[in-house]
């Protein structure tokens, strides 16, 4: 335990991110997004609105898509987290990443990490979702550039290729 300059007590945080174990000392008021970006240097997860409204900060926590900007990092203690950097670690793009590229589901790219993580959480759980199920899974992720159509096409293309579990 230690104290910050401002005098806030630091707490130990153990968590697993993209398969790696981390032990950190952090202030209790810090969000999971801040810790991912600032302490772990994983900058692929984006700060959008900062209020849980846009989904640019979406990561997967124990197989569920969560908004890391409104979650306290200490609430992720001992949990397993996946960020966009955890996909395609073998040097090969994940099928969702490849589909986003091929279907032109990207413009500015600021929402892309969150979109991919939200759709990955869906497909991990439900490999062959209906169109409405895909839409419901993305209902918390905003995109201002694409109008969503190509994002939906990309995700559907992956879902269709997946074997039924």
């Amino acid at each position: 335990m230690g104290k910050t300059r401002e005098g806030i007590m630091k707490h130990e945080l153990k968590l697993k991110v993209n398969g790696q174990d981390y032990t950190l000392l952090i202030e209790p008021n810090r969000t999971l997004l801040e810790v991912i970006r600032e302490d772990l240097g994983l900058l692929g997860t984006k700060l959008g609105c900062g209020g849980g409204e846009c989904g640019a900060c979406t990561v997967i926590l124990n197989s569920e898509a969560v908004k890391s900007c409104i979650m306290l990092a200490l609430d992720a203690r001992n949990q397993e987290i996946w960020t966009i950097e955890g996909l395609g670690q073998t040097g090969e793009l994940h099928p969702l990443q490849r589909a986003f590229v091929e279907y032109g589901a990207i413009q500015c790219g600021y929402c892309t990490s969150g979109m991919i993580m939200a759709s990955k959480a869906l497909l991990d759980e439900n490999p062959q979702p209906s169109e409405q199920e895909i839409k419901d899974a993305l209902a918390g992720n905003l995109c201002r550039c694409t109008g969503y159509l190509k994002i939906l096409e990309a995700i559907s293309s992956v879902a269709n290729k997946m074997e039924r579990k």
Binding site: R5, E6, L42, L43, G44, T45, K46, L47, G48, C49, G50, G51, E53, C54, A56, T83, I84, E85, L87, G88, L93, Q97, R98, F100, V101, E102, Y103, G104, I106, Q107, C108, G109, Y110, C111, T112, S113, I116, K135, D136, L138, A139, N141, L142, C143, R144, C145, T146, G147, Y148, L149, K150, I151, L152
Partner: protein
Amino acid sequence: MAQDVYTVIGKRLPRLESEEKVSGTARYLPDLQIPGTLYGKILRSPYPHARVLRVDTSRAERLPGVRAAVTGNDTKGIRLCTFSRFDNKPPLAEERVRFIGDEVAAVAADSESIAEEALDLIEVDYEELPPVFDPLEAMKPGAVGIHEEGNVAYHRSWMYGDIESALKESDYIFEDQFRTQAQAHCALETHGCIAYFDQTGTLTVWITTQWIHPTRRILSETLGLPYSKVRVITANIGGSFGRSGGIEPIEIIATFLSKKTRRPVRIIHSHDEQFTSGRSRYPVLIDIKTGVKKDGTLLARKVRMVTDNGAYNNFGIAVTLGIGSKCTYLWGVPNVAFDADVVYTNKVYGGAFRGFGNGQITFAIESQMETIARKLGMDMKDLCLKNVNYPGQRTCMGHKITSCGLKECIEQATAAAGWEAKRGKGRNRGIGMASVMHIGAGIRNLYGDCNLSEAFIKMNNDGTIDLASGAMDTGQGSNTVLAQVAAEELGIPMRDINMITGDTSTTPQCLGAWGSREAFIAGNAVKLAAREVRLRLLEEAGKIIKSDPEDLILKDRQIYRKTNLQESVLSIAHVANACYNAGRPLFGRGIYDDPSGLGIDPKTGHGGPVTYSFGTQVAEVEVDPRTGKVKVLNFVAAHDLGKAINPMMAEGQIEGGVIQGLGYALFEDLVMEEGLVLNPNLQDYRIPYVNDIPKIVSILVESQDPEGPYGAKGLGEPPIIPTAAAIANAIYDAVGVRIKTLPITPEKILKALKEKEEESKKK
């Protein structure tokens, strides 16, 4: 039309930086880490209108970790530059604040939290002044003065043709009033900058901008620095849509904080700041009077409008003048009169937004066209075709239309939508159309007496190239389009191209991304540069194999004789390497300036845009008469883009534009009460989400522009422009009510339905 003879142009290729973006490695401004960076925060006015009597930052400066503070005394005399003599926004208030959110003072500190704490220690004494929020109130004699020159920032009136005679000759005259709202850009990445004024007096600014070179010019002229001492750099940009044209106060404020501390200073808008002090789309009030013959021929269009400028000038005057010229565009009306006031109010000032005023005026023109058609007993489609713009036409301003596929857009969009079958079928379902005519390659004279772009290409020993362009990719995809042009000209694959953009130190001149200009203007510059490399490459190859260069072509990294495309004679890399070893490395420079003439004379109309883009959209909606809720069921958008360099990305522009237009039509509205923004977040300011979207059919109409690269012209802005009118017309077809103010909320529909019912009872 020529069949597809290209290998790269016209292909559905993924954007160049796709893999960076899907793998999380693409870097944006908030991801940049410059050692020694301080964090800046801004203290803003809580009052819509007040005199600033005293600003005291001394307590804030004594807080440990605070490194500097600035006030209006530091930046006195500076005005945010939009290249207009009317610029009047100080980066930090001098004596007066004019809207809630007006910048008053700023600090730079070791951390964001210290900077925020320091703001609470700044003491400001205000003397409140009476505010005025409504532009019509602000225009009245005796209204509170917001600026010394009065509340009318600008007045303009002009006429082409003879409006009064044309109105007399008309069989019918239609008069309607339309009102539009403030729309926020809502790019997911907010505006931000890091300014570093180093010990040598060089200013480097990392910034989210859509035009790096004009921004450098603004900073150097504003701060009195030589251009060579100012460097503007961008990272990837998380959406723009007009919001990052020109600078915000933060660039100047961060620069002054850096000047005091000699350290980099980073200021990034919070989403709240982006809503409350970012520059949204101008709300306007439009009175439109149109004279028509019985057969549907449009004779006269008279427009009177008031632009709600907000507290300061930014692009309000330019947008209003843009609306003025757009009154002369669609349907080639021969007699047009325009009269406008741009009026100050004590609200956040507006700025550039995709469409630059055309969304506002097209909502009015196309909503009224539908009313005209019904009155004349004509189908809207036939009325539009009767008045359709055509190649070779001159607008009443004297501007010449070159390529024009509007007729094809109308025909193809209505056919794909099932127009005839679905029209007027009732049961709360309806179908409506609207069209757009917009500049297709920017315009001369907006930011200089030119409309230019320049490109450099260096061919490396292995036949790959480095391509430097001053154009800006803000996510719309210009880097990919420019690389496609170079790849096509040089017979090399896209992966052999290294794009160098987003840095004024390493790229040549370009006015940047605005006015849907980059595909055309920057595309032509790249084509010229690539052509220069190609000609030299062929010439050198000809020397090596003793052949006439005219008989050779470039393809798949190889050089072939035209007579034998099976067997290559040399590789491009071989020739490039030979040139290098001979001390004459291959290099190309392309400069393209729009040839439309030197500037626009507003009276003679000489000059004008080099080309126009067109489109027609058809919306199909269902209205719930009990709740007033509108669901957009299907959408067809046909756009004349000259030639689709990348059809997949062109569809992306259309789909994204239509969905932004859908939000503008139905719910987006920056709501202000007494000058206070009531919905400064994405929860309360709703933008379309995935469950709002209809099926969209995009149709690419290729009219082959004679001047555009491979026939291409701009598509960035047009897709958002006609959407609101198409939806409003579909709502009329569904339930018979005409809503003339945006957004078309359920409340407005219910009220109109009730009024309609009462009206019919009276009868």
